[in-house]
Amino acid sequence: MRVLMFGWEFPPFNSGGLGTACLGLTKALSRSGHDIVFVLPKQLDLKVDYMDLLFADVPRLRVKAVNSPLAGYLTDHRYRVLMGALPPELARLYGRDLYEETQRYAEKASAIASTVEHDVIHAHDWLSFPAGMAAKAASGKPLVAHVHATEFDRTADGGVNQLVYECERAGMHAADAVVAVSNYTKERVARHYEVAPEKIHVVHNGVDPREVRKLGASKLNDHYKIVLFLGRITVQKGPDWFLKAARLVLERDKDVLFVVAGAGDMERQVILDAADSGIADRVVFTGFRRGDDIDRLYQMADLYVMPSVSEPFGITALEAVQNGTPVIVSKQSGVREVLPEAVQVDFWDTRRMADEMLRLLSHREEAKRLGQLQRAALPGITWDAAALKLASLYKNVLPVRA
């Protein structure tokens, strides 16, 4: 199969799980013999429309960048700030606001459809949906709309952006099939976007099995038990709930250190909150980290906690388990469907969250056993398994629908 994919970020140019998922899926699809052209927006400091990006690691993959300042997790406000910072001769290339730019990007991206041979179009999340739809209109090939997150997840059900919602809805309805990263997400898609459940196919995210390098403990481990939060510091991920639980834990056990790893629009607020509530000497902020640093953080931690308010999947929980660290995840997440051994707590139940943290931190054998149990579930949760489901979808579902 030749797949024309539209995404909005790809490692190493990623800021969250979407890029990780796209890489995992394309690698696995390539391994099973499919050819992929991956199109994404990238702000090029040149007056060109397109650029081919080298991505030597993955055979059968070509990455095309469309000159655009669109990026992962962008909001209208952030877009304007970005545009304000560009020199005028570059800013003139792009749309004046997020809506305009999304349309302009869709046109440019879909123009690629006529230059690339493909059997199926696969668009990831709202930013890519207009491009996917335009490509389908151009080539007539079937379209898969892949939902990694909805606007409801991103805003933690706190008020969606109408533009984004309409992009999502239009994409889902124009698509011949919708892929959701979990049953949790499938249910929300059906409910909020009026998509028939038969049209929504669940393909869980995963991790590639790998030998994790032991990166050596920190001296902090000699004096503290360490609980890790790792993810974008934004309302969806519940960093404020993490701190609430931290405060409860510290009331009963002072020898615990809470590490907050990541960056995001709530970062400053969370730092202020930690300082203001008197726990600054038990919280360490790491900022945004990549690669080995992330493994190091997972390994340093005695516990990984994912207190998300709404998590369509939650790849980080699997990454933590891969590194040998037991996880506590929010019940409002997709990953728990494939990792039932994860300790599961409602994100708002800070008392129970704290209790579970304390229990696992003080019962090391139990924690170790739990980590092993969780580790044992990983072989079933791979990108290869996801790619298999996608391939089957491409082959069996799409021709029927198209």
Partner: protein
């Protein structure tokens, strides 16, 4: 009269280098940035030495030679002295030559330019006596007048300082403590018997330190003759013209091309044109002019920002939390017996660290970023707290070892 009293602050902190969770437990060289960043203390010291300390000291030496009546007072912080010794010994030499003229006085302050007066009277006393001893060793002088970090002052601090035996203390002549009174006189801090208080004439001082190069200022350009006339105008209205400012005014805050060095070179002769005018060091000012009244300062003041209070260092949770964490370590650091850790802890007491965490004027694209060598006050806070974590581990390990 009046007598012109020049006092200059000479200070550089040891800036904390970029320091993350991965350095905790591994790296105790907190202040050793070697990059191009403005956290590289060596680089900054070299720059300020070339732009300010060396050229200004040269002008001052020439002025002292030309005008026997000329007098200067300095307070040089211990952290500045450390960095002179390590990076630019020629600057220390030039200050020695200045003091050697006998007409340049050095004041006492906390060795590490800290906020200890507010947080730990015990540490305050130790830092002051350490600094006095050091000035004795380096310059052969014994200071009798004191100035606290950034002129942080209140009645309680005046008491602490009088009890240590000093005859004088400096403070900001802030409107809200002076009211109708004038900074052109010496005062007695409320409830004190011996110590005299000298107050900065902020209008005239800031004319030089802040407004000098501002073309939108109604008095621009400020020439030495013009300023001399303003000093003359105090005649009959007071005894003292207290011109207190940061030494970096000369060459750093006001660049050479503003004409600041020419201004400085000609100022003493303009002031001396009027035969009633003269110059005094701070202790000469105190000996010559008896306090005219008691002055009450119950709320802490400083020479920082518009508010002239403690808000530059204590106005947000980041500052409060880090100050609390710092002073919470005091007892354990001192009882650990680890001298290196104690010295590192003292370097962390310097007021600048908390100044960098100030969010009073912080917003996207704010112009005050100029004064902050970190990307943001939050970055400054996180970096500082990581170092506190490392220091805490060092003392914990040490304490465990001792008890084992």
């Amino acid at each position: 009269m009046p007598s012109v009293c020049f006092y200059f602050q000479v200070h550089q902190p040891f800036r904390v280098k970029p320091y993350s969770i991965f350095e905790i437990g591994e790296d105790r060289e907190y202040f050793a940035d070697r990059s191009h960043l403005n956290l590289n203390n060596r680089k900054i010291m070299r720059k300020v030495a070339d732009k300010c300390y060396l050229p200004t000291n040269a002008v001052m030496l020439a002025l002292l030679e030309r005008h026997p009546e000329f007098r200067i007072s300095y307070s040089i912080s211990g952290t500045a002295l450390d960095q002179f010794e390590e990076f630019v010994p020629e600057v220390l030499e030039s200050f020695r030559r200045l003091v050697g003229t006998g007409r340049v006085e050095l004041l006492a302050e906390t060795s590490h330019h800290s906020l200890a007066a507010v947080f730990s009277p015990e540490e305050f006393r130790t830092q002051v006596s350490n600094h006095v001893a050091r000035l004795g060793r380096l310059f052969g002088v014994r200071p009798t007048v004191f100035r606290n970090t950034e002129l942080i002052y209140d009645d309680r601090i005046a008491g602490l300082v009088e009890d240590m035996g000093f005859s004088g203390i400096l403070a900001e002549g802030a409107d809200h403590i002076l009211g109708w009174r004038s900074p052109a006189f010496a005062y007695r801090p409320r409830g004190r018997k011996r110590i005299s208080l000298l107050l900065k004439n902020y209008r005239l001082s800031d004319d030089i330190a802040f407004r000098f190069s501002n073309r939108d200022w109604s008095e621009w350009p400020l020439t030495a003759p013009k300023f001399g006339r303003w000093v003359d105008a105090v005649n009959g209205n007071g005894n003292l013209v207290n011109l207190f400012m940061d030494y970096e005014t000369f060459g750093e805050h006001q660049w050479r091309d503003t004409g600041i060095f020419d201004f400085l070179s000609h100022l003493p002769e303009e002031i001396l044109k009027h035969p009633d005018n003269d110059f005094v060091t701070v202790s000469e000012a105190i000996r010559r002019y008896e306090p005219v009244a008691e002055l009450e300062v119950p709320q802490t003041i400083s020479w920082a920002d518009i508010e002239r209070d403690l808000s530059a260092w204590r106005s947000n949770p980041l500052q409060e939390a880090s100050l609390k964490a710092l002073y919470a370590l005091e007892r354990d650091v001192k009882s650990s017996g680890d001298d290196r850790a104690l010295e590192d802890w003292r370097k962390l007491t310097t007021s600048d660290h908390f100044y960098y965490m100030c969010t009073k004027w912080f917003s996207d694209g704010d112009v005050h970023k100029y004064f902050n060598p970190y990307d943001s006050p939050y970055d400054a806070f996180v970096t500082y707290m990581n170092v506190i974590h490392d220091l805490t581990l060092r003392i914990k390990s040490r304490t465990n070892y001792v008890h084992a």
